[in-house]
């Protein structure tokens, strides 16, 4: 079985990084990475449990346009 990489890099704006860094001061999160990882897991679990993928409102409009164009939505 191939060995799976445990971590990878995701880029975020430096300004956002600094904000998060400030926010997690005096919390139990040891790093920005661990906090961002925690948040993303929360979002994904919530999305899976509710059966809804995390689509933005504008995505919903795109889906409606596709459904209309294919004839599913009249």
């Amino acid at each position: 079985m191939p060995r799976r990489k445990k971590f990878t890099t995701v880029s975020i704006p430096v300004q956002l990084f600094e904000k998060i860094k400030k926010q997690i001061e005096n919390t139990g999160f040891p790093s920005v990475s661990s906090y961002v990882g925690y948040l993303l897991r929360e979002v994904l679990v919530e999305a899976h449990e509710s059966g809804e993928m995390p689509f933005a409102r504008e995505d919903a409009e795109k889906i409606r346009r596709r459904l209309r164009a294919l004839g599913y939505l009249r």
Binding site: S50, G51, M53, F55, I63, L70, Y72, R74
Partner: protein
């Protein structure tokens, strides 16, 4: 042991059977297991059939017929049923990828963003779905989950727009190659323990021949040439139980993971 349900929306015996010489992986699977045609008792509407297949409920019971209702997109939580993954999630490792009973198609325990929101509508998007579903499914197979459900949706759209054209077989060939990569190249088969159900939700025929008109003939993407046929594809490997209707897939999985075998 991994139980792999590979769904192919719209896969049709009337394309596969006459072309088994070029669809080598379909042919190889038929040889390795059992193949049959499912004659659907319910209308061949994708949303309803996939919903019944993984909830075990008839359309009267689950009440979900189309992707939209009263002009609104139907969501998972609008359908009052427990799917097989909801029932098994605390007992086994279950992964679900791109099941099109709703749009965007539903994934469970897998981070997957469907191509074109699950409605891939041109060649570029069909290629992209083929690649991304294959690659994600291959990765999931390496994790050896107890149950993996994965669905390709592109053939449905290809056949709606191109039924009767040579390009339809070209897309079957591309899919056939991917089936080979998933089933044989990963080492999933041959195996005495791994189990496979390859299934479609309906077949295809010319637009005018279909008993049920699932979409209007003219759409902004062009005129539709094909429509759903109430005959679906089924190939099983290492699965003893008989599958007569889509709902039987649910029962086979329930029996496999919840009940003691008789």
């Amino acid at each position: 042991m991994t139980f792999f349900v590979l769904g192919i929306d719209g896969a049709s015996w009337n394309v596969i059977r006459p072309n088994l010489k070029v669809l080598k992986n379909f042919a190889r699977l038929i040889q390795a297991g059992k193949a049959k045609e499912i004659v659907l008792r319910e209308k061949p509407i994708s949303a309803a059939i996939w919903c019944g297949m993984f909830s075990g409920k008839t359309v009267e019971e689950h009440g979900h017929l189309e992707f939209t209702k009263d002009g609104k997109i139907v969501k998972r939580e609008d359908i009052p049923v427990k799917f097989i993954w909801d029932i098994l999630k605390d007992k086994i490792d279950v992964r679900v990828l791109n099941v099109p009973f709703v749009v965007p198609p539903y994934s469970f325990n897998v981070d997957f963003r469907p191509v074109g929101f699950g409605l891939p509508s041109n060649e570029k998007e069909w290629e992209e779905e083929l690649e991304r579903v294959t690659e994600t499914t291959k990765e999931l197979l390496t994790w050896k989950p107890d149950l993996l459900i994965s669905v390709f949706t592109l053939l449905d759209r290809v056949q709606h727009f191109h039924w009767g054209e040579p390009v339809v077989l070209e897309w079957y060939k591309k899919l056939d190659e991917k089936i080979g990569e998933l089933v044989w190249d990963t080492g999933f088969l041959p195996s005495e323990t791994n189990k496979l159900i390859l299934i479609s939700d309906h077949g295809f025929c010319s637009f005018g021949e279909a008993k049920v008109q699932t979409l209007p003939k003219r759409t902004p993407y062009g005129e539709l040439k094909g429509d759903h046929l109430e005959r679906a594809v089924l190939i099983t490997v290492n699965v003893e139980e008989e599958i007569e209707q889509p709902q039987d897939v649910f029962r086979v999985l329930e029996k496999e993971f919840l009940r003691t075998k008789s």
